[in-house]
Structures are given as C-alpha cells and as structure tokens.
C-alpha cells in the first residue's frame, strides 16, 4: 500500500466519526485513564496517559470538525499536525499500547479511548509509520497465510503428527462439516499440542470439523497495524474458505486479537455480514459442556488462576465460558483481584511483543501481572490466548517465578473422559 504524510492526515480525517467527536468534546483532561494503563502504572511516566496517545487526532478533529477550532485555525491560534507529531505518536500508539482497552473502562465521561487509539494507528500506518515488524508480519500473512510465515505444509506436518499421536483422522478442506477451525501462528509453532487436544475433544463430542488450506490462521497483523485493506484481505480468505466448504460455524483460536479481528471487526472491514457464525474456541467447548457432549474426569487440586485475554474478555465479551470450564476441571480455581472486564493486560498484545524496541518496556510492565500472580500463590496460570501465554511464559521465566502456564483447551483435554473408541 502506498503511504505518505498527507495520506496519514487524510486517513485521520476519515476515521473521525460521531463517537470520536463526542469523546473529544467530552474529555476534560482529568487524567484518570492513566491509572488504568499498565504502561503508566508501572513506569509512572505521564507520557503514557492513554488520552495523550491520540493528541494529533484531537487537533485534527478540532480544526476540521468544529466551528471553534476552524476559527482558531484561521486566526493562527492552533498548530497544524506535523509529520514529526505523527512520528512522535508511534511510540505511544504502537510501542507502549497493547490496545487492551482498560482505559475505556474508567473514563468518567465514558470515552472509549482504545477505540480512538485503534483509529490513530490507521492514520499512522497510512503515513507509512507502522512498525516494521508489523509490516513484515502483514507481508508474511498475505503471502503465506501465516503471521509467522508457516506455509500450509507446516500445518500438514503438525496434522500428521497429531493423527499419529491420537489415531484420529483430521480433515483438511472437508466440506459440509460443523466447524472450520482456525489456529494462530503461535499454536502452529509452539503450542501445537492443541491440534491433538481438539481432535480428541471433538471426536468424543461427535463434532465434525476441518482445517482449510486457504485459511488456516486467524492472526491478523492488518488489525494491529490499522491497515483495513490488509485486514480485509485476510478476513476475505476465511470467508471464502467457509463459503466454499459450506461451513456455518468458524472457530477462532486461543488468540485474543484474532478473535477481535474475525468476530467483531471482520464483517465491518469487508463491508458485509458473514454467512456463518464465529465462536472463540472456548465458547465452543463451553457449549459442548452445556450440551453434555464434553465430559471430563478428575480435577486439578492445586491452586490455579486465570488470565483473561483483553480482546476476548474485556473487548470481546467472552467472560463466563472459561470460568465454567475451569470449574469443571479444577477444584481450586482462584480469581485474580482484577479479572474479566477489568483484568490487567499481560503487556504483550496489540503487536507490542513483535516490536524489538518495545521489549525493555514490555518486560517492565509485566511487573503488574507478576504481582497479581504472586499474591495468589498459585502453581498454574491458565489463559486462552497464545500471545498472552507467550508473554506470561517469558515474564515468569525472566522473574524466576515457579509457576506454569497452560492453555485452557489443553487443560480441558488433559481431563477429557474418553468413552468412544477412535
């Protein structure tokens, strides 16, 4: 995509809608959003106050969409946004913000601040300022259909290994099945036990499912960047796969941002509703539990807690299913002090974990999660997002903590009651 400073400014003008205008009109610069942001609380640096991350957008709104702002501009009382202003904003909108949305939970006037930051990223990307790591990830995803660049062959190898391990046949491109399963790159690369886990769970539940060779991953760097064309291209692949295979249910993987992209943003960026439904994998498992099709045996006796991924829980609305499943397989599940909609972010999402420059800051802000985990004195942290899982594992290792991290699907699979013969 072509980019320039002018395109950046034009994009920012285009993305300003009625909610954003209402938000800027209502902000009193009280600063309370700062206390909700880990990048602020763990550094106490005022520059990380969430509303400051969108200051260039605020100026454009005032100068272009308000009579008072236009008058101030005509009288030379306000400064136009410069290229340097946008460059300075990259650190604030990309490197020190996971778009976790906790700021939006505390604003007294109700501003959805992260919605504005998400839009700010669109302007920065149009100005050619998106972090290179995200641009590279977008190129890999467009070329190979995988955020980390794994071709379909890699997944096929994983599938074969899972088939060998479980003795269960796993479908690729099988039409008319119940579900199309999407994975995240991290699952293919690091947490590929999930394939065998799901094969077993679905086999026991009597659910038919398949992978697609044209859309096997749901990760979407286009969303992180704020590049709607790229985001739409990736979404369209999934839509094409589901339509061609005549599948009415698509499963988003254990990845918060993938869920946000495919479940909530997808239809809006491609400009039409889906002909299928989208579920987070944990929603599917909880539905199977409710229907009595997911049976487990045994219970985790040790103290475990759960880390709610921001995009699935706070921003995506999946809060109860994970708790139902945890209570099914654990007798000692303990909630973190702030959980569900007010959970503290792990610090790695929103593309932050891909930006090398952001690494020291990411390590520092993990302090909040470390404290949350330590005060519970648990042996295991469970989550349902591969990026959170990676960040948690790294943070726990860096801080020499004696805690293991598990994906919820894997935990459920560990307790699966196997009745049927494979």
């Amino acid at each position: 995509m072509s980019t320039s400073f002018e395109q950046g400014i034009n994009t920012l003008k285009q993305v300003i809608d009625a909610p954003i205008a209402a938000y800027f009109s209502s902000c009193t610069n009280c600063g309370l959003c700062s206390r909700a942001c880990i990048f602020y609380t763990e550094t106490e640096n005022p520059k990380y106050t969430p509303i400051r991350r969108v200051e260039p957008m605020r100026r454009i709104w005032e100068q272009e969409f308000t009579l008072v702002g236009k008058a101030k501009k005509a009288l030379g009382l306000s400064k136009e946004v410069t290229e340097q202003d946008l460059k300075d904003c990259v650190e604030l909108a990309f490197e020190s913000c996971t778009t976790c949305g906790r700021c939006s939970m505390v604003c007294p006037v109700g501003n959805d601040i992260v919605y504005m930051i998400r839009r700010m990223r669109e302007g920065l990307t149009a100005a050619g300022l998106a972090p290179k790591s995200l641009q590279d990830a977008a190129v890999r995803t467009m070329e190979k259909g995988s955020v980390m660049g794994f071709p379909m062959k890699t997944l096929e190898a994983m599938v074969k290994a899972a088939e060998k391990e479980t003795g269960i046949e796993i479908n690729i491109d099988k039409p008319d099945v119940d579900y199309l399963l999407l994975l995240s790159s991290a699952e293919v690369m690091q947490f590929n036990e999930i394939i065998a886990s799901l094969a077993q769970i679905f086999k026991e539940a009597g659910v038919s499912w398949t992978f697609s060779s044209i859309a096997h991953e749901a990760g979407n760097p286009g969303m992180h960047m704020g590049a709607s064309e790229i985001e739409a291209q990736m979404i369209n692949r999934i839509v094409q796969a589901a339509e061609e295979l005549n599948i009415k249910n698509v499963i988003s993987p254990e990845c918060g941002h993938a869920y946000m992209a495919i479940r909530w943003e997808g239809p809006n960026v491609i400009g039409r509703p889906y002909p299928f439904k989208v579920y987070h994998i944990i929603e599917v498992l909880d539905k199977l539990r409710e229907q009595g099709k997911l049976k487990t045996t045994g219970c985790e006796l040790e103290r475990i807690t759960f880390h709610d991924p921001c995009q699935a829980a706070r921003r995506g609305g999946v809060n109860q299913p994970q708790r139902n499943l945890l209570n099914m397989v654990s007798s000692n599940f303990i909630e973190m002090k702030d959980s569900q909609a007010c959970n503290w972010c792990c610090g790695g999402g929103g593309g932050v974990n891909t930006i090398e420059k952001a690494e020291p800051l990411m390590k520092k802000v993990f302090n909040r999660k470390r404290n949350q985990i330590e005060e519970l004195d648990v042996t295991t942290v469970v989550t349902m997002c591969a990026t959170c899982r990676n960040t948690l594992e790294e943070g726990i290792e860096n801080n020499n903590m004696n805690v293991q991290v598990l994906g919820l699907t894997e935990l459920v699979a560990n307790h699966l009651l196997k009745e049927k013969k494979s």
Partner: protein
C-alpha cells in the same frame, strides 16, 4: 452605567444574549457530532446495544472506588453545582418566573454548605492540576479557562449572599454576569462535556452492549 443599570442589563438583555448563544452553540456542537455519523455494525451482535447505551449514561456516574481523592472532589462540586443551581431559593424563583415551573428550594444553610464544599473541591481539582505531574502535563489553557468560568459564579454568588466585597447590587450584577460568561462558554470550551458526556457514554455503552461486554 450605574450599578442598578448594570444589574438590569445583566438580568435583561445580557441574560437573553447569553441564553441565545448557549442554546444555539450547544445545538451546533451536538449537530457537529451527529453529522459525522456512525458506521452500521455488520457483525452479528449479542444485543441491540440501545438499553446498554442508556444504562451507561447513568452507570458511569457511579463513583469509582479507586483514585478516590480526585473522584470525590469532582463528585462533590458536580453535585454541589446542581444543588446550588436548582435548589437555592432565589434560583427556583428565577426558574418559576422564566419557565413557569416551580419546585421548593432548600434552606440557605444547606446551600451555603454545598457552596463552601464545592469551592473547596474545585480548589482541590485546580491544585491537583499543578501538583500531579500527569495532570499538569495533560492540562491545557482550555482546562484552566473552564475551571475559572465555573468557579466565578460560585464565588461571586457566595460573596453576594454574604454581602462580601462590593455592594450587594454590584455584586449581584457581577454574579449574574459571571453566570452569563459560563453560559456563553459552554459551547465554546471544555464545558461542552456537560452535554456531550451523555453522547460519549451512549456510544460506548451501546457498542459494548452489542458485543455483550461490560461497561
């Protein structure tokens, strides 16, 4: 112009001009927002979001237990302002004369209590803008302007009631003029939030409601 003429101007033409500017200005501000539109939600929603939007307008008014100092101070002067504006007996008489609607005012000592409390709370919010590094960096001239034009009617009203400073007639005229300054400032300053916060909360609440998420 003597003090009687000043008071008459403030009560008559001054108030009329201020009202026209305030109503026209606020209407324009609301129109400016609405004219930008909002994209249709194409994802399959978990709810219409309408009731969640309305709920959010009230729910976000509930005090947040964290960061209690600033929130308590803000709460006190917002509630205080509403009480003083709508329940000081001379104000209720003004509303009766202008709108023909009457409700009982509260005793002077209650209003006096709220006024002193509100002044103290507003002072706290101002000091915190200087003392708190985060609030200091965030604060712009427009924030201080909004503070001044909100503070003036409180102080001048208190002074007029207690016969402090200038003679009563002049002080009352100054008080009414300060209210008119506040009215004119509403559409052209940060004070617009007095109206647009309902829109901001509705937009966020309804969007959250569609996704089935907590506000």
């Amino acid at each position: 112009m003597n003090e009687i003429e000043l008071l008459n101007w403030a009560r008559g033409p001054g108030l009329a001009y201020a009202t026209i500017i305030m109503v026209f200005g606020l209407t324009l501000r609301v129109f400016e927002i609405l004219s930008l539109g909002r994209a249709e939600e194409l994802a399959e929603v978990r709810g219409s979001g309408v009731s969640d939007g309305w709920k959010m307008i009230f729910k976000r008014s509930l005090p947040e237990p964290r960061h209690w100092k600033l929130i308590t101070a803000s709460y006190i002067f917002h509630v205080g302002l509403l009480v003083i504006i709508f329940f000081f007996i001379p104000h209720t008489q003004f509303f009766r004369d202008v709108f023909g609607v009457f409700w009982s005012g509260w005793p002077n000592y209650v209003i006096d209590f709220f006024t002193v409390l509100s002044i103290a709370a507003m002072m706290y919010t101002l000091v915190s803008r200087f003392v708190d590094p985060t609030r200091r960096i965030l604060s712009k001239m427009s924030d201080y302007f909004a503070w001044v034009v909100t503070f003036l009617p409180l102080v001048t009203g208190y002074m007029a009631f207690h016969r402090l400073g200038m003679d009563y007639t002049t002080m009352l005229a100054v008080h009414i003029l300060s209210v008119e300054l506040l009215m004119i400032s509403l559409p052209i300053s940060k004070l617009t939030h007095a109206i647009t916060f309902t829109m901001a909360r509705y937009y966020t609440g309804s969007s959250n409601g569609r996704r089935g998420i907590q506000s």
